[in-house]
Symmetry: D2
Subunit: 342 residues, 4 copies
Amino acid sequence: MIKVGIVGATGYTGVELLRLLANHAEVQVELITSRSHKGTLVTELFPSLRGFYDLVFSEPDNKALAQCDLVFFATPNGTAMKRVPELLAKGVKIIDLAADFRITSQATWEKWYGMEHACPELLTSAVYGLPELNREKIKQAQLIANPGCYPTATILGLMPLIKHNVIEPSGLIADCKSAASGAGRGANVAGLMAECGESFKAYGVSGHRHLPEIQQILSMIAGEPREITFVPHLIPMIRGIHATLYGQLTTDIDLQKLYQEAYIDEPFIDVLPENSHPETRSVKGVNQCRIAIHQPQNSKRVVVLSVIDNLVKGAAGQAIQNMNICCGLTETMGLDQVALMP
Amino acid sequence: MIKVGIVGATGYTGVELLRLLANHAEVQVELITSRSHKGTLVTELFPSLRGFYDLVFSEPDNKALAQCDLVFFATPNGTAMKRVPELLAKGVKIIDLAADFRITSQATWEKWYGMEHACPELLTSAVYGLPELNREKIKQAQLIANPGCYPTATILGLMPLIKHNVIEPSGLIADCKSAASGAGRGANVAGLMAECGESFKAYGVSGHRHLPEIQQILSMIAGEPREITFVPHLIPMIRGIHATLYGQLTTDIDLQKLYQEAYIDEPFIDVLPENSHPETRSVKGVNQCRIAIHQPQNSKRVVVLSVIDNLVKGAAGQAIQNMNICCGLTETMGLDQVALMP
Amino acid sequence: MIKVGIVGATGYTGVELLRLLANHAEVQVELITSRSHKGTLVTELFPSLRGFYDLVFSEPDNKALAQCDLVFFATPNGTAMKRVPELLAKGVKIIDLAADFRITSQATWEKWYGMEHACPELLTSAVYGLPELNREKIKQAQLIANPGCYPTATILGLMPLIKHNVIEPSGLIADCKSAASGAGRGANVAGLMAECGESFKAYGVSGHRHLPEIQQILSMIAGEPREITFVPHLIPMIRGIHATLYGQLTTDIDLQKLYQEAYIDEPFIDVLPENSHPETRSVKGVNQCRIAIHQPQNSKRVVVLSVIDNLVKGAAGQAIQNMNICCGLTETMGLDQVALMP
Amino acid sequence: MIKVGIVGATGYTGVELLRLLANHAEVQVELITSRSHKGTLVTELFPSLRGFYDLVFSEPDNKALAQCDLVFFATPNGTAMKRVPELLAKGVKIIDLAADFRITSQATWEKWYGMEHACPELLTSAVYGLPELNREKIKQAQLIANPGCYPTATILGLMPLIKHNVIEPSGLIADCKSAASGAGRGANVAGLMAECGESFKAYGVSGHRHLPEIQQILSMIAGEPREITFVPHLIPMIRGIHATLYGQLTTDIDLQKLYQEAYIDEPFIDVLPENSHPETRSVKGVNQCRIAIHQPQNSKRVVVLSVIDNLVKGAAGQAIQNMNICCGLTETMGLDQVALMP
């Protein structure tokens, strides 16, 4: 059994790790931490876990965390980086669900996240944990930067086009829509049901932190700089991301075949039949990305529809997938649920 | 034109006052206050008001408020009582949308609201602003305690039964359900869409602050003490209260006729035809209470269904109705909208 | 492996059976039927099942169904009764998720369901599939009537009080609230999001089909006739039932202890700590009933709060629990998921 | 008083006309028709109208309709065209809220709407009822084609860019999102709350009927053919459309100023301050279009955000605006409500 710890287990990605790990055959959650809820039973905060856990939140402490084989950081940005160097030195594997290690350029990270990085020397050695892109590196990784939710949906949707160089470099657009849980479990007026319910809006059009992450990975895939226009929106619901991706083809090609072949061996990518429209609910609660490809009016315009559950393939599920890979377990272990429909 | 001020205009009842007063023919909103948003244009916070107001939030100040004919307090409990005595002395009419003056007994108020009352001498002179019960007193009132949302739906639903003494004194139940805006616009985890969306729960079963208010008014109507079991629940939506009220008849009586006659002259009470089930959306945005009466299986059991919009007949709309009455205006002025359906 | 068939697998209870059985270790779904979707891949209708099933809907046919060890009927009321006698004769076990075999009195059934019963001789031999009440009978049963959703939440909430005879026989109230999926997957105006979203209402106050079912079982438990006032309401959400149950105690008793002892061995009943308020989301997607008991204002009034997922413990999950019991499998097999939160 | 009739008043645009006309000072609704609800009181179907109307639905009949000054057709596509020629001949003004007269090319109309047009000779004389584009023509019009909801949001968002020729002709994208009421009030599985709630999806990517309408009007404005990629999506809520519009600037220009000047005299277009993100709820229930303009990362890329209420500025409100114009009334009459927030 692999012993894992979860730092910051009171947020949505933390409790989602607990949900998914509850029935994982090879993992034992040893330790969950929370400064604010120290001493509280996890089941008091999350009654949905009654019967599965009798853990109590403890103060985060590196000595205790070092007893784990692997530690998940489900903390706000800027928290993991303060503990990671010491834990790495003690041989613990780390998967950070926040953004501390997603951006390789220190300057870019500090610009977008508005703080100094505590261990910039790790930025280039951390592995970006998108298994469909980096599986071999993840196998060897000790420090994994779990991708952002928008980047996961966007990159998986565009990767085959860019890898095969069949799309114009400029003019890419990611019109993305996310459910409210993406904003986290912190108290705030904008997230109240009476504020974001029965309404829809864009936000962060002038620049969102996931933009440099998306551009970095698309550039890496392309082998040269790539820019994209990224517009996030807020959907009045709880879980799900829908990315609507626009590009311009440079060539005639059977896109359906391209995608099916690109993802044929991927357990968590599902290329839908032609003319499909994936619904976010078709991945509710599960570690899947469902993708459909369209060429409306048979033009050179390509429209890719890509859906994930922001808390699963966009966060905790992908983190467990990464854990399975880097710990030598079967990649799909503990991730075989069926989406909750309706 | 009547000059009004609104203290605490950044919450839901405050902005609802602004919405309803925007087209009121005899009222001019002169002044809106907010400590936290001093200097901010109201339309910056609430773009829905663009084109209707160019007011800026100011620091609350009694001197400025005293220039108004009438001041609405749309503040948290315990705020109005600190300013009301001075404003009354200056001849300003006051309508408090919070609970400071709803309970006549100081001891009861202090027990349920957990603080000392700043002007207990006003508790018995304040008029409980339920026009269907107290219209004549409201006409003369200088200080009006606007009723709570649950009490409004519950009392209007039970009043004919109690007034005509056709129901057993014991065993009354108010199983009430409220939308999320009832909890106000303050930042809190429990009100997040990702917390209260797609879920339903009871709360405060051991005792909710609206219980003593309901019991006080029902007792006043009955002329002797009345108790009730009151269980509030939270509905995953934005606006609306549904009260399901249970009692036991003491006599054979035509309930439909009783209610229709009781409310025949009331502009804002709508007794539905027999065998109806009022939907909260039928009063969305309007100052109406719709009521249906049932005797399931023709037993002595009576079930009353009563719906209001918690922010309108349950708060701001009723406050304007009270303002109209106490200022000598037509009672329905500014309150003639049609509910938003769908 | 137990071979099962599902008749009427295009509705919500049918697809929920498929979701829950996808990972059941001892069951193979052999056959799914649908008249209207004959020839369609189940994954075309329900993309959430892609990767788990490659079944095609077939025309219902007793010969084919007779090849199964057990057949679930997830059909409208009045459908199962036409096929059950022949299938029973061929030795197939039957679990009917509809109401055909829930009422033992033919006259009562025909009155409430408005049709003639096709095999009234089976009404008294069918076993009411509430394991917490009838586990021993279910073990031997060949024909199981899976309980209704409202009756499940209500009966589990009241059973300890009635069994121990600590509650007044009269005056029982079940104020129940159900999500929209309870109305099924048939096209209808009232179920449209634009109709039932952002609204709340009671319905069927004059009499709902689950009333005679609840009264029959409560009477059975009491050993004498019991009546109840049952008022169902519609919540603007997808899954979940909340029953708020009211009764009058006849004695002083530690209710918390009574319930904990009553359900101590039940794998799917969770009695919450004192002063709890169960949320429906705490059972979203899982075969749990969570219960809290209150005595507000320390009176003789008892208020029980009982929540289930209407499609799981209220339908498909309970059906699988019954299948496990009557087929000699571990009762909890395939039912060990954690609720989806948030 | 202008006498109006509404054909097909049982759908969402019909009942929205009734809501908005209830308080219109110069209009009397004389006649509402519905084949399926002939003889039913409108308040029985829509209790929100109780107290405002005592009309009964009648069978549609041209003789009765001809008594009206103006008739609204709030009917499915293909209905109005069968009655319009006769009513025009009798001097009645017509506003069709469906699509029968929106497309000037008969061939295009018949291709997209899949039926033969009953009066193609009227296609070119009908006036496209977008007041911000066609006000002078509307003043003289007898037959007005009320625009589609998506086209309204899209065209108003793009018009200044195209009129001033500051945007590249190719590469336009309209990524649009609509609430569920846009699909109408007909019974259908896809519109059930349990189907479209808590989910998000694109639809009609290969071609939606509003595409030729948008392209026709954009081409008219440009004075030469314009194409656009149009992708509609379904939001899990009741009212509102959000159009996110993408183009490429051909020149350096102050877009904020361009839009503010373009719409400075328009009572129903609100250009928000720089860096704004309009929420659909800011126009809930009102005849407003709120627009914000962005140039993310200061590139040549322009992103326009445009929101309307699909049932008001996208349907019934715009129809009343058109009525006011063509009947010589003040354009804003009856359309001065404040949006319902929250």
